[in-house]
Symmetry: C2
Subunit: 219 residues, 2 copies
């Protein structure tokens, strides 16, 4: 398993650099999605569950970013998903330049959709524009309904919220109405999907939405 060690960006203006990268990707008809969440909310298993639906419609690959370990990229590759493992050298997030380093090492300009699986962290990744066309976040049921209230920037920066592990709704007290109210206060147009990567509930609908986003971007 090849591991790409990313170098910390020396660029001062990440926002401007991210706009440049976004334009480059738009010209290449590649839709980059930045997937963010807490550790253990199910980013990798969600991508595995989406793959059978996505592959029928689009060419899909994953850049897996971690501080350490390469287990997730291996898991994705074994499932047939083009994937590359990026290491951030302890860094808590990716910026646009690090994302560009990853895209170059991946070298897959034939893909329609590349998902950047960001570092598991609800704080720092939301502060850095990666150049992605779409930001999305996962909230898993066991984490609790209070995360939007506690980590508001993450929800402001994303247009799609995936509520994962709905199969455990009975085991945890999770107030959907309270959560949705807090989310709408931060991002009125948030698209919210309830899914279980384990049982498959809601995965098809989410895959259809992602394909729609890719088609809009690559028109």
């Amino acid at each position: 398993m090849q591991i790409i060690e990313l170098k910390e960006s020396i660029l001062e203006d990440n926002a401007a650099d991210a706009e440049v990268l976004r334009s480059e990707l738009k010209a290449k008809k590649i839709c980059l999605m930045n997937l963010m969440s807490s550790p253990g909310s199910g980013k990798t298993s969600l991508l595995l569950a989406l793959y059978p639906y996505l592959k029928e419609e689009i060419r899909f690959g994953v850049m897996e970013a971690d501080i350490d370990s390469d287990v997730d990229a291996l898991t994705l590759q074994q499932a047939g998903i083009p994937a590359i493992q990026l290491h951030t050298g302890g860094m808590c997030h990716l910026d646009a330049d690090m994302t560009r380093q990853g895209l170059r090492a991946f070298g897959r300009e034939d893909l329609d959709l590349i998902v950047l699986e960001n570092i598991g962290n609800l704080v720092c990744p939301a502060e850095f524009d990666t150049g992605a066309a779409v930001n999305l976040t996962i909230l898993s049921v066991p984490e609790g309904d209070d995360k939007p209230a506690k980590y508001p920037l993450m929800y402001q920066e994303c247009k799609i919220l995936v509520v994962n592990k709905t199969d455990t709704l009975q085991a945890f007290s999770f107030d959907k109405e309270r959560m949705e109210r807090d989310v709408r206060a931060l991002r009125p147009d948030m698209k919210i999907f309830y899914v279980s990567a384990k049982t498959g509930e809601g995965i098809r609908e989410l895959a259809e939405e992602l394909v729609r986003e890719v088609r809009e971007w690559t028109v």
Copy 2:
């Protein structure tokens, strides 16, 4: 509910500042514990579950740090626990100077144990010494057994690991042996406690350990 807005430290040498704070707290016979974890692993509910045991033995209070919201400090106060709400102004961690600002605002030098409930984040808080006598971390079962492999620094920096939400072990695939093996590779002397803040399993044993740590520190 009073909320203390912390200012970002301008000190260059956090490690030295943390040593100074630790010595000051030692002289005052206050044991500061730095509680770190992912968002939603159950930091606040663990403290609520520990309180009935702790209050029989020691004087206990909590500094609740969040980026936003004050729900956790309110919950603790309503349970009778001396608590103060700290806001980090978007910052992803606390350093020693921010911890000192919190302690001053709290003003509770009569306490034996003050728990700093750090920002929910497995990355950045582990990088900054807060001046605490003891670092501890929670891994909740739904997050998965792979967190030590993915976030090694957190496990290197802590001496106590609390595995929480053991009541959900049946619902999730969580390999205790794999997790413990990864933890021991990072921190051979880690003290590991399996608890459920919901059912009370293991809480008494953890409380006894915390009281032991406080007594050792305040001798």
